[in-house]
C-alpha cells in the first residue's frame, strides 16, 4: 500500500445486531475497497444435527434475539413441508400477525435506536437541523428514541397475547399456532394496534398510515420533505437532503425477496427478484453458497444448501470472515425491506429503484413505507381471526426426507434447508438475510452487496470510524448473529 492507500479497521460496530468488523482501504478521501467480516462463529447448523426435527423450533429461533420469530417460521415451514401439513386459516393469519409484529418492531428499533442517533453526533453540530436531531435522537436519551421504545413495547403485547412471550416463543407450529385467540383477545389486539397506530401517526409520520403507504413517487417524497407534516420522517428527509444520503451506499441493485404474509389470495408482499428494471422469479435450486473467502472448509465449489456444510477452518488465512457467500445463479443479491417493497410493487419504492437504486435514503424509506403498510394489514388480520375454529392442524413426521422453508425476516430473505434421516436431523443449512447482504467475495472475486456499497464512501480528514461508512452499514440494518449463526 505504497500508493498512499491507508488501511482502516473499523470495529466494534455498535447499534447493529451482533459483532461486525469492516476493513477499509482508503485513498484520496474515499473508500477504495472494503472487506466485511463477521468475527463471531457459534455453529448452529452443527448444533441442530442429530436432534429430533421438531427441536428446530426451539434451537433455530435462538440464532437471533431480534428476529427469532422469523427463524422459527422458516423452521416451521420446513417441518410443514416435511409433514405435508397445511396450516389452518386461523393458524396462517395468527402466524402472519406474530411475524409482522416482530418485523414492525424491528423497523422501529432500527430507525430510532440504531440508525438516527448517528445524526445527533457532535460531528454534525454545525448543521441547521442538528439541535432537533439531538433533541429527538441522542443515543438512548433522545425523546423519539424513548417514545419509540415505549411504542415498541406496546406493540410487543401482541406477542404476549398470541405467542406467550418474545423473543424465543414456541408458538409457531407447522400446522398453525399453539394458542388460539378468543373474543376478548381480538379486542385487546385491536386496542394494542390502535395505540401503536396513534403513536406513529402522531410522532413518526405526522399523518395517517394510509397517506404514507400511498406515496407514489420521488416527487411526492420531495413535497413531503418541503411542506409535509412535522414528524421524525420529515426530519429524516431534511437530513437526507442536506447530507445527500441518496448518493451514498449504492450496491448492484439486484434485489431478492421470498415473499411475505400468505393470504387467502397470494401474498401481501409478492416474492421474486428485481434486476435491471425487470421482475423475475426465484429458483431455489439456483441458490448456492461459496466458501472461497469464508473461514470454512469446502472451498472447491459452491454448494446448494441441501449439500452444504459448516466446518470452520480456524487455520485458514485467505478467509476473512465466518460468513459464507450466498449467490443466486452465481450473482450476489441485496435483500431487505426496500427490496421487498420494490418487488411487491409499492409505487414509491419502484420509482426510487428506477431513479436512484438502493442507497442509504431508499433503504430507510423502504422500511418506513413498509411499517405503515404492514400495520394496516395487521388490523385486517385481527378482524379475520375466527375464535372457535381450529388453530393448529396436526401432521406426522416421516423418518426421512428433505425440505426447505423460505420466509422474510425484517432484514430480508431467510431460508432453512433440512435433511432428515432415521428420524433425526442429518443436515441443516440456514441462509440469513445479512448473509446475502454482508457476504464476502466469492471465487470469481465478486464482492457482496455491502462491500460494493462502501466503495466511494467519503472519509474525512482524521476519521478512524468514518461517519459515511456508519450510515451505509446501518442502512442495511445488519444482523450479524444471523449472518454466521
Amino acid at each position: 500500500m505504497s500508493d498512499g492507500t491507508k488501511r482502516l479497521v473499523v470495529g466494534p460496530f455498535n447499534r447493529v445486531e451482533g459483532d461486525l468488523e469492516v476493513r477499509l482501504d482508503v485513498a484520496d478521501g474515499a473508500v477504495k475497497q472494503a472487506f466485511v467480516s463477521s468475527p463471531l462463529f457459534r455453529g448452529f447448523e452443527r448444533i441442530l444435527e442429530g436432534r429430533d426435527p421438531r427441536d428446530a423450533l426451539v434451537i433455530a429461533p435462538r440464532i437471533c434475539g431480534i428476529c427469532s420469530v422469523s427463524q422459527s417460521h422458516a423452521a416451521a415451514l420446513a417441518l410443514a413441508a416435511l409433514e405435508g401439513v397445511v396450516p389452518t386459516d386461523n393458524g396462517r393469519v395468527a402466524t402472519n400477525l406474530i411475524l409482522a409484529t416482530e418485523n414492525v418492531a424491528d423497523h422501529l428499533t432500527h430507525f430510532h435506536v440504531f440508525f438516527m442517533p448517528d445524526f445527533a453526533r457532535a460531528a454534525y453540530s454545525d448543521r441547521p437541523w442538528f439541535a432537533e436531531a439531538e433533541r429527538r435522537f441522542k443515543a438512548s436519551h433522545g425523546l423519539s428514541v424513548r417514545e419509540a421504545l415505549a411504542t415498541r413495547t406496546t406493540l410487543l403485547h401482541v406477542m404476549g397475547l398470541l405467542a406467550g412471550r418474545w423473543p424465543h416463543t414456541l408458538a409457531l407450529q407447522p400446522g398453525g399456532v399453539a394458542k388460539g385467540a378468543d373474543a376478548r383477545d381480538k379486542m385487546r389486539l385491536l386496542a394494542t394496534l390502535g395505540s401503536v397506530r396513534a403513536d406513529l401517526e402522531a410522532r413518526l409520520y405526522g399523518a395517517p398510515l394510509e397517506r404514507v403507504a400511498a406515496l407514489a413517487d420521488a416527487e411526492e417524497l420531495d413535497i413531503w420533505r418541503r411542506t409535509g407534516p412535522d414528524g421524525d420522517f420529515r426530519l429524516f428527509l431534511t437530513i437526507t437532503e442536506d447530507l445527500d444520503l441518496a448518493a451514498l451506499g449504492r450496491a448492484d441493485d439486484r434485489f431478492l425477496s421470498y415473499g411475505a404474509y400468505p393470504q387467502e389470495e397470494g401474498r401481501l408482499y409478492a416474492g421474486g427478484t428485481f434486476a435491471a428494471g425487470r421482475l423475475g422469479s426465484v429458483d431455489p435450486s439456483a441458490i448456492a453458497e461459496d466458501h472461497s473467502f469464508a473461514r470454512m472448509e469446502g472451498r472447491e465449489a459452491p454448494h446448494h444448501p441441501f449439500e452444504g456444510s459448516t466446518f470452520p477452518d480456524g487455520a485458514d488465512e485467505t478467509g476473512y470472515t465466518w460468513c459464507k457467500a450466498p449467490r443466486l445463479a452465481g450473482l450476489p443479491f441485496e435483500t431487505g425491506a426496500f427490496a421487498r417493497q420494490v418487488i411487491a410493487g409499492q409505487k414509491l419504492a419502484r420509482d426510487l429503484a428506477a431513479k436512484e437504486g438502493a442507497n442509504v435514503r431508499s433503504r430507510v424509506v423502504g422500511r418506513l413505507i413498509e411499517t405503515a403498510r404492514t400495520l394496516i394489514a395487521m388490523e385486517g388480520w385481527v378482524k379475520a381471526l375466527r375464535p372457535g375454529e381450529p388453530w393448529c392442524a396436526q401432521g406426522a413426521l416421516p423418518q426421512a426426507g428433505r425440505s426447505f422453508g423460505l420466509t422474510e425476516a425484517a432484514r430480508g430473505a431467510l431460508g432453512h434447508w433440512m435433511v432428515v434421516e432415521r428420524g433425526r436431523i442429518a443436515r441443516y443449512q440456514i441462509i440469513a438475510p445479512t448473509t446475502w447482504n454482508f457476504s464476502p467475495r466469492d471465487a470469481s472475486g465478486q464482492p457482496g452487496p455491502l462491500e460494493t456499497a462502501l466503495v466511494g464512501a467519503p472519509v474525512r480528514q482524521g476519521e478512524k470510524t468514518p461517519l459515511s461508512v456508519q450510515h451505509i452499514v446501518r442502512s442495511f440494518d445488519p444482523c450479524m448473529v444471523c449472518t454466521v449463526h
Binding site: F13, D19, S37, R42, G43, T109, S140, L149, R165
Partner: protein
C-alpha cells in the same frame, strides 16, 4: 452533591442478543426511567450507545486502567474457547483480541460480574450438541462450576458471578438485579445454588399457570393448541423450572404456558440438552420421568390415578380442545 452513578459496561459474545432485545421491553416504568431511578448509568452498551469503533475501544481501555470505575460488568452470550483454546471464534471486532480475553481482564477490575442470560451463565444453547465453538458460561460449564473465569473467581466486591439465567431473561430480572446491586442489597445468601438471584429463582413456573386446574385433575393436552396441562404429554417442565414466569408476566400478559407451549426450563443449566424432544414427555410405564420438584414417585402415581378418576367432564373435554367447549356451569349460589 449527587452520588456517583452505578456504572455498567455491557458486552455481548456467543449469544443471540435476545436478552438485550428483551431488556428493551421493560415497562411501567420503561428501561431509561427504571435505571435513572436507581442512578444506574450504562458506560457502554452494544445497542444503546453512541460510541462505535475506536471511541468504544478507548472507553474499554479507560475502564481497564482504572480511570473509569466499573461497578458491574454485564456479559450477554456464552464465552467461546474454540478453536483449540484460542478464543478466535469470537474476536472482539477492531481489536484483534479474543472477546474471552477482554472479558477476563475486565472482570478483574469490576466490582460485580453479572451473567445476563443462560448462555453467559452456563453456556446455554450455544453449547448444545457437539458444541462447535467450545462455548461455556462465565463461571459454569453446563452444570459444572468452572467456565471462563473459574470456580474460584470472586469479583472485587466479593460475590461470585451473578447468574441472571433465562433464555432470554425477563427484562425485570435484569433491572432488579442491577438495582439491588447498586443499593448494596444483594448478598451471597441471595443467590441460589446455581448463582441465580433468589428473588425470581425461588419460584416455580407452575405457580400461577392458568392450566393448574387441569394439572390437579391430570386432564392433559394431547396436541399443540390444546388447553390441558402440558406436563403429561408435551414436555412441560413448569413444575421443576425455577422462575416466576406465570406470576410476573411477559410482554403485557404472556408466558410460555399461556402461549400454549411447554416450559422448557430455560433458566436451568443444560436445559438445551433434555435428552429427548423438547415437546415430548419421556415416560416409564406411563409415568413421566421428571416429576414435580419434591414429589415422591409413589405419591404422584397414587394422586394422579385418583385425580384422573375424579376429573370433571368439563375439564376432560376442554383439555383436548383449543377453546372452551364446556364452560363452568352457572349456578344460583343462594339456592344451594
Amino acid at each position: 452533591m449527587k452520588a456517583a452513578p452505578f456504572t455498567v459496561l455491557w458486552l455481548q459474545s456467543g449469544g443471540c442478543g435476545g436478552c438485550t432485545m428483551s431488556l428493551l421491553c421493560a415497562e411501567a416504568p420503561d428501561l431509561a426511567a427504571t435505571l435513572a431511578s436507581a442512578n444506574i448509568r450504562f458506560l457502554w452498551h452494544p445497542t444503546l450507545s453512541e460510541e462505535t469503533g475506536d471511541e468504544a475501544i478507548a472507553l474499554f481501555e479507560a475502564v481497564l486502567s482504572g480511570a473509569i470505575r466499573l461497578d458491574a460488568l454485564c456479559i450477554e452470550g456464552a464465552l467461546l474457547r474454540g478453536p483449540n483454546g484460542t478464543g478466535r471464534f469470537h474476536m472482539l471486532a477492531g481489536t484483534d483480541t479474543a472477546t474471552i480475553d477482554w472479558v477476563r481482564r475486565l472482570a478483574a477490575v469490576a466490582e460485580h460480574v453479572v451473567a445476563v442470560g443462560t448462555c453467559a451463565a452456563y453456556g446455554g444453547v450455544t453449547a448444545a450438541g457437539v458444541n462447535p465453538a467450545d462455548a461455556c458460561g462465565l463461571q459454569y460449564d453446563g452444570r459444572r462450576p468452572g467456565g471462563a473465569l473459574g470456580a474460584e473467581f470472586r469479583a472485587r466486591a466479593g460475590l461470585p458471578v451473578i447468574n441472571v439465567a433465562g433464555c432470554p431473561t425477563h427484562p425485570n430480572w435484569v433491572t432488579e438485579t442491577l438495582m439491588l446491586l447498586s443499593a448494596g442489597l444483594l448478598h451471597g445468601g441471595d443467590l441460589d445454588s446455581y448463582g441465580r438471584p433468589r428473588f425470581y429463582a425461588d419460584h416455580l413456573v407452575h405457580h400461577g399457570c392458568p392450566r393448574n386446574e387441569y394439572y390437579e385433575y391430570k386432564a392433559s393436552a394431547e396436541k399443540m393448541s390444546d388447553l390441558g396441562c402440558m406436563m403429561e404429554h408435551l414436555g412441560c417442565l413448569g413444575t421443576q423450572a425455577h422462575a416466576d414466569c406465570n406470576t410476573r408476566l411477559w410482554n403485557g400478559e404472556g408466558s410460555c404456558t399461556r402461549g400454549g407451549h411447554a416450559c422448557i426450563n430455560c433458566t436451568a443449566p443444560e436445559f438445551e440438552e433434555p435428552g429427548h424432544a423438547f415437546i415430548e414427555t419421556p415416560k416409564i410405564g406411563g409415568i413421566p420421568v421428571g416429576l414435580p420438584t419434591d414429589m415422591p414417585k409413589a405419591w404422584f402415581i397414587a394422586l394422579s390415578s385418583l385425580a384422573k378418576a375424579a376429573t370433571p367432564e368439563r375439564l376432560r373435554r376442554n383439555a383436548v380442545s383449543d377453546h372452551v367447549v364446556t364452560p363452568p356451569a352457572v349456578r344460583d349460589i343462594r339456592k344451594r
